[in-house]
Symmetry: C2
Subunit: 395 residues, 2 copies
């Protein structure tokens, strides 16, 4: 026990240092676009800008990060000013006339691409909610609540957004209840919203009922509307790091609800199932895709190691440990932490590489692109710091 | 010279043997779906079926292959019967009510997905054209000509198909003139069509004017409508194997036009530029994506080795050699041939793996999926055999 406390204290100091001395300084202040607002985030390993376009997901996520640092670490004016720049860019340039958000815009905010999903909107909810808390700006709070309502509408109204597939073989993904649950948690814990608890209950129930398969010890990424497994290549494809992200959203909910034992059991079960399927016993790290029956996965890059699943597994294992005291989770946390900070972390320039080959060598050097920016890594370092501080305070 | 002739004779025998004793028997007759028509092609390394869905591109390509074998190798009844099964499935199940084709259907032909492209249609053109020649079926010939007209309409009418991107930063890909040129060549050389030569001229002129950049020795994958380079991540991304496929389509056209020296020079230039950018000097093989200015490519799997670029480069280098006699091309042909048949070829079960890591190890074992089936490899073995037979006859 004393050894564990020493280790966790060391981890808390490590995450704090990484977050504030390594990860955040890689991105800020240089990425704030003083000319057009928002952030210039598509950067090579050394920080050189490789594209001045703006990915709307990442504009929202970076705004959330700066606001959250302001709310929870230190009320630094530069963080609040940066967040305001993000909020203004989102409001002024990232909405289409039909109310839907774009996915990809130019530096000065002209639309390049809109997609059939509403992830831009979910990230705009958490950006506005965290910014409203930081700034006291009531219009941002209203925007967050309004967009959360839109997301619920998109999630629950069949046919409201154009479909990618026909109705021949209907399917649903775990991504929707997961992202909506986390969005609701953020909204609730910054500015509050009376709708959140009830919706979170529904999404957790859906995940447990339709996606978690006790008989084959698996969390499915996609299922038929009734929860049955679709025995085709896409339907069989698992994303262990994503399912484990879902596990920690549920553990977070358990903690919020005074350590609800049923939710702890559900989150730990999801983690157990998908650690077993995702951890690469040969090279270490989390494999990106697996097939539920170990058949070949359509995606040829299925055995690569991406940065973000490692961030999610670092959080999930630490949270599972502090909530259960089960030494297995401490051990897993060390394994994934040591692998990730050895292989992904760029000791020279700060931040992490995004994409490794299965053997741990670097496949692509960029730190930022359409999908990677200041989010999963700083969120992990920030969240781990929060739970460790809380745990060590009580210990 | 004598040594070269000996080598080329050996190659001709090798390709014939591979095609008829290794590649074709992997797929046929077992893949012909006697119950629903069409082909069951999504198979693991040993031939086990991993999905009974049907990818419309591949249904058309397999029909083209069987018809072409019948037309050029031997009039085997089983090849013609197989081709008929493919034609019937395409006609009965792969067209939507608006005349556009689907991309992905179930085994019994129910639609799963339609896409914003007309590659299903181009493969249906070559399938119908080759089948019409094999069978004498006039309705297939009519269908081929009708669909070729539809493809020209899709290619030349802005806005006729839904757009993936806004008009903020218009772009065009080399894929359209390339696939249309090859479709026209196939149509012309099976059943004939008076439109082909003129269109082929236009597409070659467009490639030369807008995509081939002498100053930086490069063939672009995507450019602005006026041919200028779009200096953003997507606009900078090169696909060397694809550009080299375009090079051999042009060399093929040069051969058809009595060895037109201007077209030979253009095809060889494209091959020279993109060999230099695509050949992996460290591990051998053709890298999938490159950045025109060597910045990081967005696609994290950019340094993988895919089967089909190797098929295209094997053809292009051999064709360049027999048309120019330049020893450099013979040397390149040997390099890519030896690499590909060592790394991709499955000596135990026949056919090739589709996806290797950069270092040449296998990333995914499937022989067939939504994108891979009996096309690039058998086309390469068949086409190389044709040009070698023709060359050796004259030598």
């Amino acid at each position: 026990m004393k050894l564990a406390i020493e280790y966790l204290k060391k981890q808390a100091a490590f995450y704090k240092n990484q977050l504030l001395k390594d990860t955040v300084p890689f991105w800020f202040p240089r990425s704030i676009d003083k000319e057009h607002g928002g952030f210039l985030l598509m950067r090579d390993a050394d920080g050189t800008l490789i594209d001045d376009d703006k990915a709307v997901w990442i504009q929202g996520r970076a705004t959330w990060l700066l606001s959250t640092l302001y709310n929870t670490i230190e009320p630094k004016k530069e963080w609040l000013d940066g967040a305001k720049s993000g909020i203004d860019f989102l409001n002024n340039h990232c909405f289409d006339t039909d109310g839907q958000m774009f996915f990809h815009v130019t530096r000065d905010g002209k639309p390049i691409r809109k997609r059939r999903y509403y992830f831009s909107e979910t990230f705009a909810v958490i950006a506005n909610a965290a910014y409203a808390k930081a700034s006291g700006d009531e219009s941002a709070a209203e925007k967050a609540r309004y967009l959360f309502g839109k997301c619920i509408e998109y999630a629950t109204t069949p046919g409201i957004l154009p479909a990618k597939f026909t109705n021949t073989r209907p399917a649903k993904g775990i991504g929707v209840p997961m992202i909506m649950m986390n969005t609701a948690q953020q909204l609730r814990e910054t500015i509050g919203d009376p709708r959140c608890d009830e919706w979170i209950d529904k999404w957790i129930a859906e995940i447990e009922r339709d996606f978690v398969k006790d008989d084959i010890k698996c969390v499915m990424e996609q299922v038929a509307p009734d929860g049955s497994i679709i025995d085709h290549i896409d339907g069989r494809t698992l994303n262990p790091g994503h399912a484990i992200e879902g596990a920690w959203f549920i553990l977070h909910e358990a903690k919020y609800r005074n350590n609800d034992p049923k939710l702890i059991a559900l989150g730990c079960k999801m983690l157990d199932f998908m650690w077993e399927r995702g951890w690469d016993k040969e090279h270490g790290g989390i494999l990106y895709f697996r097939d539920v029956y170990d058949e070949p996965v359509q995606e040829y890059w299925q055995d690569m190691k991406f940065w973000w699943p490692h961030n999610e597994v670092i959080i999930a294992t630490l949270l599972a440990y502090v909530m259960t005291g089960d030494e297995k989770y401490m051990q897993w946390h060390k394994m994934v932490h040591d692998y990730a900070y050895e292989k992904f972390h760029d000791k020279e320039n700060g931040e992490w590489y995004g994409y490794l080959h299965r053997d741990g060598t670097i496949a692509q050097t960029a730190k930022g692109n359409m999908y990677k920016g200041p989010f999963h890594l700083p969120r992990q370092e920030w969240y781990c710091l929060q739970i460790l501080n809380e745990y060590l305070d009580k210990a």
